[in-house]
């Protein structure tokens, strides 16, 4: 099913999602965030529907990363609520958010530099590695060993999905920037997330790496995982996202299909410039 079949009536996405049986996965309601006297986000609403790629765009300093950090629990909102599958998550610490199925990548890649790529990705298995408690581990029980093999296998599977399995034993700190981003994506996938927050994945990538990234994002959505994509890179957003939100100076100024957004005069003025 193509995106235009999902959203024939673009001006009313919320009702439409219910009509089409696409449940809200993430529901951000009237969220505000103050840093001291600075209001970084003001009354922002955002909805992510299950199984889609939703993009969040906006100029530098618009508050995109702040919103991602609020959703992933790095800090709590000043006002408003965030719910994930009808459960309030706005007071959850980051590791709880990861446990209920929201994974993320970082704008500036944050790999564990002292570890190999495979080990990096294996850390992602943490939310579901239930047998690896202290005492079973110390006693080296068979269930821990089995789980460790499972984790290893799953991590390799995710590296294959992103097509970077040849890097498995390389030290993560020495990788070129583009590959670090892909490994970070694989690591986020290993948490078995329902929703994955991707923060500016195309920043600093060359065209070839960008193509790989696009393929990777498509493979992710094909496996049934929802994506919230924060991106500067309009070409990528226009090509793959189903729905686009535009943030400017802490306010949500528009949302719609990529085509609508491309034509919206407000958006063009705030962000795109006349050439687009």
């Amino acid at each position: 099913m193509a995106w235009w079949e999902l959203f024939p009536n673009a001006s009313d996405p919320l009702n439409l999602a219910i009509l089409k049986g696409r449940a809200f996965m993430l529901n951000v309601k009237e969220i505000s965030k103050d840093f001291g006297g600075l209001r970084a986000l003001h009354q922002v609403d955002l909805v992510v529907r299950a199984g889609t790629i939703t993009a969040l765009i906006g100029p530098n300093g618009a508050g995109k990363t702040t919103l991602i950090n609020l959703i992933s629990g790095v800090y709590g909102p000043s006002e408003g609520t965030i719910s994930f599958e009808e459960k309030r998550i706005d007071r959850f610490p980051p590791h709880k958010v990861a446990e209920i199925g929201i994974a993320r990548t970082f704008q500036l890649t944050k790999l564990f530099e002292g570890m190999s790529v495979l080990e990096n990705v294996m850390v992602g298995a943490h939310p579901w590695a239930r047998n690896s408690r202290f005492f079973p581990t110390v006693l080296h029980l068979p269930k821990v060993r089995c789980e460790r093999d499972d984790i290893c296998e799953y991590a390799m599977k995710m590296l294959k999905l992103i097509r970077v399995e040849h890097l498995a034993n390389a030290p993560a700190g020495n990788l070129p920037h583009g590959q670090q981003r892909l490994v970070e994506l694989a690591r986020a996938l290993t948490t078995k997330p329902k929703l994955i927050l991707v923060d500016e994945p195309a920043a600093g990538l060359n065209p070839h790496e960008e193509g790989m990234l696009q393929e990777a994002l498509k493979s992710i959505v094909d496996t049934g995982i929802t994506i919230l994509l924060v991106e500067h890179h309009m070409r990528l957003v226009m090509r793959i996202s189903h729905w686009v939100y535009v943030l400017d100076v802490g306010k949500m100024i528009a949302h719609g299909t990529p085509e609508e957004i491309g034509k919206n005069p407000l958006v063009v003025k705030a962000y795109l410039g006349k050439e687009y």
Binding site: S72, V74, P93, P94, H95, A98, E99, A103, R104, F106, K110, L111, F112, E113, G114, M115, E119, M122, V123, G124, A125, H126, P127, A129, S132, F134, T137, V138, L139, H140, V144, E147, R148, I151, C152, R187, A188, T191
Partner: protein, 310 residues
Amino acid sequence: MVSRVKRDFIVLFVVLGLAAVLPLMVREIYLYLVRLIGIYAIMALGLNIFMGYCGQVNIGVAGFFCIGAYIPTVLQDKLGWHYLIAFPISAFVSLFVGWGMSWPLLRLRGHSMAIGTIAFAMAVYLLFERFPTITGGSDGTVVPAMTLFGQTMGNIFYYYLILVFFAVAFLICYFLANSQIGLALRAVRDNEEAAAAMGVDINHYKRLAWLVNGVLAGIAGSLYAQQAGFISPDTFALSTNVLVLVMLCVGGPGTILGPVVGAAIMTILPYLLVKIQQYTLLMQGLVLFAVLRFLPDGVVGTISKRFRST
């Protein structure tokens, strides 16, 4: 991966087997050295989990070492309890003290954490020094010899006791380091924010590593007091903190064998240089400097890196 574990196990059992027959072959002075190495290795192994794997700073291991040494001594001396009962109790006391101290100390980072842990060690040291009627104060106290089945236990018994606890400590650290927990600890070391985003509860893992560190140092303290026969607060002053830290840095933080090798090197060194005894501290400093300058990953860390790259 399985074959690597098997190889490590074979090596470990060969080493332990050799150590087990050692008392038949060598003189007491060498056994004394091996006992000391074992005790320091237990401490350095615990410190390695907290510093090498979890990436935190602890310059207060002597605090736990002190608790582990004094609690069983006082229980034996004043209450007449048996060592084998007082010993586990001291390990539990280390656990509880560590758990209590984890709330203030683990909120700190970097330099302030270093200062905080030193303060903890000094507080414990002063606490034991200030109650001379119970602990013997700054004059120290004699540790009652342990009896078993009506016989007084000698150095050979303590040798095997230390060997057993060393083996247990080593296996615990080995399994921890090679497990999902080890990965989580290293994730916390490398990048806390990313670790939290992967579902790793940072405080939980820091506390876990801190408690492993504390309990192992406590156990080392109990073993030390009993085999030395005499303890005074000076044994647990700042120099012990630094010594264990140096052992870890020389051996290689974040490697499994590092703390053991470091403990062996730094324990044997003063005995090799017995002719220039007055310069022992200088030599230790030079060794530390040389290791940090030429082998920044420690002896074991550098060697294993060489192996991997060739």
